[in-house]
């Protein structure tokens, strides 16, 4: 037994070690190559290790000048840095191979690529690859019914949503689907109208060839005279970029708009600007593309007179349906500007666009804006294309933080950033909104920096006549170390 005893003791020790190791708690984890890209509100992502930034612009008419006016488009590259930037612009059309241009952008300058001068086509879209992440790319769509400025995006997505489509009174709604990749994309489109959701057969399994643009005419697909046309597009294969080209011809709306659709749903949608007036029609179009009904709360912000105990307006948005909310119906809302927030506790499930129809000269102009998603709120915003009319407010800033924020607004001139004189020392109280006129720096790129998160919206003339203005979001800046 003498020889056996140490053997048994050691065996027991080893057994104990085994029991100890067996009891280790292992947390199953998943291998992560990259955190999923979360498409959302277009933003300017500045990371130190960027090899190349790729911007995808939604698309624009590019037939050129006609007797009605110009049907064209531009891509505007803004380089706010002190170093030159090199880029390659690829132009996608419906029936040709992509056209590739090399474009250099000097320091602190803009470079405009006139798309319809390069290629004449009913529609084109563009992809811009830049070697500097600070360079911002936006698209201007020229149209006789009004120009539209829209940011391009740095991400593609396999799902896109349009909350507000309008084909009433002969209005024209087209969906521009760009596939910039070398593989074909296959998309399925679901359309919700006031009659409920539908899945038109010809838009199921629709193939978007590699490196091309496809234009889906919703009227041709049977959606004529619809005051409510919401669209959900899912790419079962590949990733695409989707924009809408909307020409309002009546039914209470007039004007033209080209803008990106929303690549994702969200639980917060912010609008810095808004107006309640007798001659202004402001509506929120709330689309719920999910399978569950969602309760949405509409909160009016930035109105000094509104009571502190003001209750938000709650709405139920049924699954795959659209609810159009007239902001004028908010109890106690006073005339004047305001900001809006649409939110839900049901997670990212909504897409919200704001449609404002304002008087413009002898007529009216409708401006539709996709709100800023909650994760796009930022302390820094970049506005590459600004109004050339410095006398009127061109920027609207909403403080969305619960604390006062200080603002620094700078213009990018040939000498570098310069503070906008009228904005020095500005402080915005919680939920306060502010209109900023750019005065002598109108037309220059603008940087808005705040001590806390804000939302910045801009107003731009819709054509050279200066009659009527359209809203569009500035680009939130996201710096990644």
């Amino acid at each position: 037994m003498n020889r056996r005893l140490p053997a048994l003791v050691v065996t027991l020790g080893l057994a104990g070690a085994l029991a100890s190791v067996v009891s280790w708690e292992t947390t199953p984890t998943t291998a992560v190559f990259a955190t999923a890209s979360e498409p959302g509100t277009p933003r300017l992502v500045i990371r130190g290790d960027t090899v190349s930034s790729t911007w995808f612009c939604g698309g624009t008419p590019a037939l050129g000048t006609s007797e009605n006016g110009e049907y064209g488009g531009e891509v505007i590259l803004t380089n706010p840095t002190d170093s030159p930037a090199s880029s390659v612009v690829s132009i996608f059309t419906i029936d040709r191979d992509p056209i590739v241009l090399a474009v250099d952008v000097d320091p602190r300058s803009q470079q405009i690529v006139d798309l319809d001068a390069v290629v004449s086509a009913p529609y084109v879209s563009a992809m811009v690859e830049v070697d500097r992440p600070e360079v911002a790319v936006e698209q201007v769509s020229r149209h006789p019914a009004g120009d539209a400025v829209a940011a391009c995006t740095t991400t593609t997505s396999d799902e896109w949503y349009v909350a507000d489509g309008f084909t009433a009174a002969g209005s024209d709604l087209r969906l521009l689907v760009t596939n910039p990749y070398p593989s074909a994309a296959i998309i399925d489109v679901e359309i919700s109208t006031s009659a409920g959701p539908r899945t038109p057969g010809e838009l199921q399994g629709y193939v978007v060839p590699p490196g091309s643009l496809r234009v889906l005419n919703l009227e041709d697909a049977g959606f004529r005279d619809e005051a409510v046309v919401a669209i959900g597009l899912v790419a079962s294969t590949g990733r695409v970029v989707v924009a809408k080209d909307q020409h309002y011809l009546g039914g209470g709306r007039l004007g033209h708009l080209t803008a990106l659709a929303s690549p994702a749903t969200s639980d917060e949608w912010w609008f810095a600007d808004g107006a309640f007036a007798s001659d202004v029609a402001e509506r929120l179009v709330i689309f719920n593309p999910t399978d569950d009904d969602v309760q949405a709360d509409i909160v009016v912000l930035g109105v000094p007179g509104l009571e502190a105990d003001y209750d938000s307006t709650a709405l139920t948005v049924p699954s795959r349906e659209v609810v159009v909310f007239d902001v004028a119906g908010v109890p106690g809302l006073v005339e004047g500007p305001h900001a809006l927030l649409v939110t839900t506790w049901s997670g990212p499930s909504l897409v919200v666009e704001r449609v404002v129809t304002r008087p413009a000269g002898q007529s009216v102009v409708s401006s539709t804006l996709l709100g800023a998603q909650g994760d796009a709120l930022a302390r820094e915003w970049f506005v590459s294309v600004t109004s050339t009319d410095g006398s009127q407010p061109s920027l609207v800033v909403l403080n969305v933080s619960p604390e006062p924020v200080t603002l620094e607004v700078s213009s990018i001139g040939p000498g570098g950033p310069e503070p906008v004189a009228s904005t020095v020392g500005l402080v915005l109280e919680a939920n306060e909104r502010l209109d900023i006129a750019l005065d002598e720096v109108a037309g220059r790129p603008i940087v808005v920096a705040a001590s806390d998160v804000v939302v910045v919206e801009r107003l731009i003339e819709r054509n050279d006549s200066g009659i009527g203005r359209l809203s569009s979001l500035a680009l939130p800046v996201q710096r990644v170390s």
Binding site: V10, P28, V32, F33, A34, T35, S86, E129, T156, P182
Partner: protein, 1040 residues
Amino acid sequence: MVAPSTPDGAPLPRSVLSGSVPGVVATVVAAPSSPDLVEALTSLAAQDYPSLQVVVLVTTADEDVVAEQRRRAEEILPSVHVRGVGDVGFARAANQILRLVEGDGGLFMLLHDDVALAPDAVRQMVEEMYRSNAGILGPKLVQWDRPELLSSVGFDVDRFGELDDGLEPFELDQEQHDATGDKFALSTACLVIRADLFRRLGGFESGHRFHGESLELCWRAHLAGARVVIVPAAVARHRGALADRLAEPPSEAEIERARLATVASLTGGFRLAVIVPSMVLLALATGLVALVRGRPRVAWARVIAPLSLVSGLPGILRRRRRVAAFRVVPDREVAGLQVRGSVRWSRFRRDRSRGLGSATSRVERDRSPLDVAVWSILLLLLLVGGRHVITDGVRPVGELLPFPESPVDLIRSHLSGWWDRGLGETAAQPTGSLLVALAGSVFFAQMGLLQTVGVFGSILLGWWGIRRLVPGRAGLVAAVVYAAVPLPYAAIASGRMAVLVAYASVPWAILCARRVADETQATFEHRLAHVARLTLVVTVAAAFSPAAALVALAAVVVVAVAGVLAGDPWRRSLVSGAASLVAFTGLVVLHLPWSLSFLDGDGWTAVVGAPERVSGDRGIWSLLRFDVGPAALSGLVIVAYAAMVIALFVARSTRLVGAMSAVSVSLVFLVAAVAGDAGVSWLPDVGVLLAPVGFGVALGAGTLYASFQLDVRGGRFGLRQPMSLVGLVALVVGVVPVAAVAVDGRWEQPSTTFVGQLDELLVEPSVDGDYRVLVIGDPELVPGADRFFAEGIAYSLVSGGRFDLDETWSSSGEVEERVVGGVLSAMASRSTTRAGRLMAPFGVRYVVVPVVDRVRSTTTSPLPVPEGLVDAMREQLDLRAVYSPASMIVFENQQWIPISAMLGAQASAASATGGSSALARTEFGDSRPILTGTSSWSAPSEAVGAGTLHLGVPFDDRWSVRVDGRTVRGEGSFGAVMSFAIDEPSTVSLQYERPFSRWLWSIVQIVTWGAVIAALRARRRVREVSMTPIIQLADEAVPS
């Protein structure tokens, strides 16, 4: 004439120089620790022959041992001469008497140290010499302990050199063989030979080692005209059992070789023309019979022995020339003394008629029908279980990747100094590739067959190793239980070559280490030989799996420590441990310069391989039943652990050491396996760690059986009896399910594999130029994954998308890690959408994400694809999704540049700049492939126009381009690869200049491997001790 004297100048003893009787010098060849020497010398001291001198030749060079033997001998025979002659074997030791004794006027009596003569034996033989005029005489040998039983009365010999003693087993001495007469050969246990004859014959043939000396000596005596006579009146007791007493008894192959060499050396020229072919045919026939009867080693020895006639031809010719010098009797007369027909056949028939079969040798007696039956069943299960693997070959799964098609190319690649792994680099290639190439040459380039043999061989090696480790029938039990461990079958199913290597090498490593330790009393040469064996075992294992080799060595250490705990002498364990350390050092040296690559920062990862998965999900119960692949069986094997533990309680003495070793090695490595499964990433693959666990279970089973036989059965009734019985029943229950793995016929290897599908899917490199494929995903699904991007994500670059054995070895690949890793990081952080362009200069044409390999990941239970991986690929503007089977996701890089190509204008301009931003902006699509199939050892040429010749390998100035006979040096291109300026249209070829160090390393390898192989045979090369005369016989020969 100078008077003879001893080395110290004293005159030689002249006691036998004169007188009426011839002097007899009795020469006892004694082992260093002979137990019977005292009795042998006592019998010599008691001889009634008046003129007898005794010389004891101790087969050691250790002076202390010789002095000790001298002291013991002189106590019995004060006049005895004792000399150490080195461990040279009986024949060469006995031959020393020719140098120790001067003069031909006397007789030599040559004895083993286990022969005790009757008091009148010498006298009887001398008298008979005079009566018969004999040259060689021998006594009747009876058994040592039972002198009533006969041991030897001389041999008849057939023409093939087969000996027939004419005795039945346990034959009583009833004077039935007491007629004095001629014999063809006598036992060397005791021979009397005329000194002049022995000198004329040149003594024994020194090439013999413990076998065949007698036949050769007597045959030559016949040729010299001397009679060989048995003298039954002279009696000697003989212990025999040489095989039991020798540390390394002569093998069956040695015996066969010695016999054939003797026949070829001594048979006359004309008869030889008939005898040799007959011997070859007989060898084949008897080999076949031996195989059928389940004696593969004997069969192999017999079949292979005729080849020794070719390899030993110079020695045979030399011996024939020597014989010609003293041959006086015609060959036909000598042949007349031999028996007709085949002694082997006669003996077989005789034994059958006695109901004994042919069991004559010790080994054969030990091999019971049960052994034969069990081994037959095991082999049958192996062959049936792997029948489809045999017919269709090993499927390329996991690490079981196809062997390269050409062993010659493999050797050329190995010697070139350029390793085409990943992006390629000037680096030492694994020694394993050279071993495979050499083995492939032996297999006449049938590399698939070689791989199949390797897979089956590793299993058989494991069984054989543990069978040799555990003596007796317990070894058979251990082998059966080892075979029942489902680990190797699961390893084959899941393509874990390292597990197979560990399964095969662990028993052998422990066996060799034990041999080293068991021979602490033996010579340095013996220990050296066994250390060399241990080194060779782990070195060969490390050639294919460094982790398996380390685990085997660790198992040796664990067993050594367990031995101390169980009461084994600490010195033995210390020697084992030291041997493993030496072996480790040896493997490092033998693998130079490849082993130096493991000194890099990530060397340990290269040793242990890719972490299997992010976190373990097998659990203890799966590990206990060796569930590392689809071929794992039900949990019944777990009950075999019970037997192992029970052995610890019932074993005694040395069995306790075995039981403790079994339990320790199992538990230690089980703890490691569980830890590895739980996510300890620096541990080797769980399957490799389970190999020693399986070994421990098998060793425990064998120990339990041995303990039951020796410690329990027949003892007093107590707890031991029921415990042992429970353990043995558990063994049976645990072993039976092994039959289930034979059903599938391929151990559940998938019929369709990821590697096979990939090979079919991708474009032939000859079509568009050479390219590489980046395979990235779960480390378990990426064949040859040796680069890690993140936890749970590995990647591998493979030329042409064809995985082969090369991919199982890890390369340093710093450039690969920097470049490809950098591109992957850019993709992951979404800092580029032009990863295709960034990878283009390296010829990366496809990016493949494995999803299902049908082993670890199946369609019903797929492993998750790393999060964000496919999305990141889809966001790349150059990667086109290619239609592919469900088992993988394939993207084609539309911007790839063939590995050797003429660049287009834009690419050519960009090549000088470098930098990822510039790469991302450059269009590469118009590059043209050239020199497809270029390698470091072959340089095809091709006519090209002026431009930039691109070579997609990391910059290395040993690459150059021959342009119409001129050499053009390369320049850095795209910041990492190479380009060559071709000024005008010309014929070009790419060439790689072999580094000079490659030659030096080749010499080092040859020297080191040669040294270890020489050390394996160290015991045969022993020093002979110089001898000077110590006895003087009469100058005149004994009158005939």
